[in-house]
């Protein structure tokens, strides 16, 4: 360990970039997936279609997906954000729709009987009841994205992948290890924190 102790600010900056990139992507993915999820929770055919599309995106290898975005969006944070948030869609959509479909029919009937409008029912009944599933989806999405975000460094997306790539270029194993282990640590920390959040949400519900 010769390099790391002397370059702590640089490393922290990469960690911060990595976090911002991953969290922002999951948040964007969440907004999009919520809209699609609400639309197709009660429309099985539309849901199957949306699921197929998001699965196609999920299966395309990250480097290829980023590469396909470059002609339209150029290099930098923009294609990285778009690519990473598209990756989350499958995981988020599946959990959101499963959560929404899990709301019992009698509960919905009761809400209708109480004179709730569609919108009120969604905000006050369905989404709160689906919340544990949604948080669980966000957890898996975030852990996945933290790993894939290392590849975004190659299209100038920044983050811990940059340190790994520099390590490869300079044949400097310590940098590769620092980048890799910190990425893994981030994933583990968020996995743990979100699991706690999931428990909290389930209890609150």
């Amino acid at each position: 360990m010769k390099w790391a102790p002397k370059h702590i600010p640089e490393i922290l900056l990469a960690v911060w970039q990595h976090l911002v990139l991953s969290v922002t992507s999951v948040l964007i993915g969440l907004v999009v997936a919520l809209m699609i999820g609400v639309l197709c929770a009660r429309r099985p055919k539309l849901y199957a279609f949306a699921l197929t599309i998001s699965n196609v995106i999920f299966v395309i290898p990250s480097l290829a997906l980023f590469a396909l975005l470059i002609p339209f969006l150029g290099l930098g944070t923009k294609p990285a954000l778009v690519g990473l948030s598209s990756y989350c869609l499958l995981i988020l959509l599946r959990n959101i729709v499963t959560g929404l479909q899990g709301v019992p029919a009698d509960v919905l009937d009761a809400a209708d009987g109480m004179g709730y409008s569609r919108w009120q029912r969604l905000i006050r009944i369905e989404l709160p009841l689906a919340l544990p599933m949604i948080v669980s989806g966000a957890r898996i999405a975030l852990v996945t994205v933290i790993g894939i975000a290392t590849v975004a460094a190659f299209i100038d997306g920044g983050g811990l992948g940059t340190i790994i790539l520099i390590g490869i270029d300079q044949e400097y194993p310590e940098k590769i290890l620092v980048g890799g282990v910190l990425t893994a640590l981030l994933a583990i920390i968020f996995d743990f924190a979100m699991t706690q959040a999931e428990k909290l949400v389930t209890r609150w519900r």
Binding site: N55, V59, L63, V151, G161, E171, I176, T183, A184
Partner: protein, 213 residues
């Protein structure tokens, strides 16, 4: 742009085929090695709780490491080229196969096991005639996940000199030539989607009657 990319492939067929060959070769070998390591290991840890605990946790920790880092780490250990990439991709292939196979073997219907033991089957027979056939669908599912992950990981091989279709993407970004980039990216995407689709159909054909009953 796409037509320029197709023209490039048409005028450099040997270069393209070589990259495609490398890509398929390293993915195939790694998946094979992954199966050869993970399946026996799953059987080995089946009735050994503490060993299983250790192995599963190691594998889960391994899974949090980004694939780029796993590939990169091989360079100082094994140098550059095809071989280090194959080792790294094997490391990527083992976790999904192992976890699925282990859970499948462990969660076999206890009634089926009891019936088999009652019929006088030996441990070996129970394993080969009951556990493994009943766990086959989840083993297959694990192999399918692993195949897609290995193909994705293989695109990162050029970073450590492993070649493959990712080479065109890396070169394309390096010289900012969009059509060259597509020469790599489009076949990579088609290959991954084709594999996922074929294995999905195969899974349906092979195991549909059992899941239906």
């Amino acid at each position: 742009m796409l037509t320029v990319a197709i023209d490039w492939i048409a005028s450099h067929p040997s270069e393209f085929l070589r990259a495609l060959g490398q890509h398929l070769l390293m993915s195939g070998i790694s998946l094979g090695l992954g199966l050869a390591i993970a399946l026996p290991l799953a059987v080995l840890i089946l009735n050994r709780t503490s060993l299983a605990f250790g192995v599963i946790n190691t594998v889960n920790a391994l899974r949090t490491l980004p694939s780029l880092a796993i590939l990169a780490v091989m360079m100082p250990l094994l140098g550059i080229g095809l071989m280090p990439s194959i080792v790294a991709l094997t490391v990527l292939a083992v976790p999904p196969i192992l976890l699925n196979a282990y859970v499948g073997l462990r969660d076999v219907d206890p009634d089926a096991l009891e019936a088999a033991i009652g019929m006088g089957m030996s441990r070996r027979q129970v394993l080969w005639k009951v556990r493994i056939p009943l766990a086959a669908p989840s083993m297959f599912a694990g192999a399918r996940t692993a195949a897609v992950q290995v193909l994705a990981g293989a695109t990162l091989a050029p970073f450590i000199g492993g070649g493959g279709l990712g080479d065109f993407v890396v070169t394309g970004i390096g010289i900012m030539d969009m059509s060259r980039l597509l020469v790599g990216a489009v076949p990579i995407a088609i290959l991954a989607l084709g594999t996922e689709f074929t294995l999905g159909q195969l899974q349906r054909v092979l195991f549909s009657e059992r899941t239906a009953s």
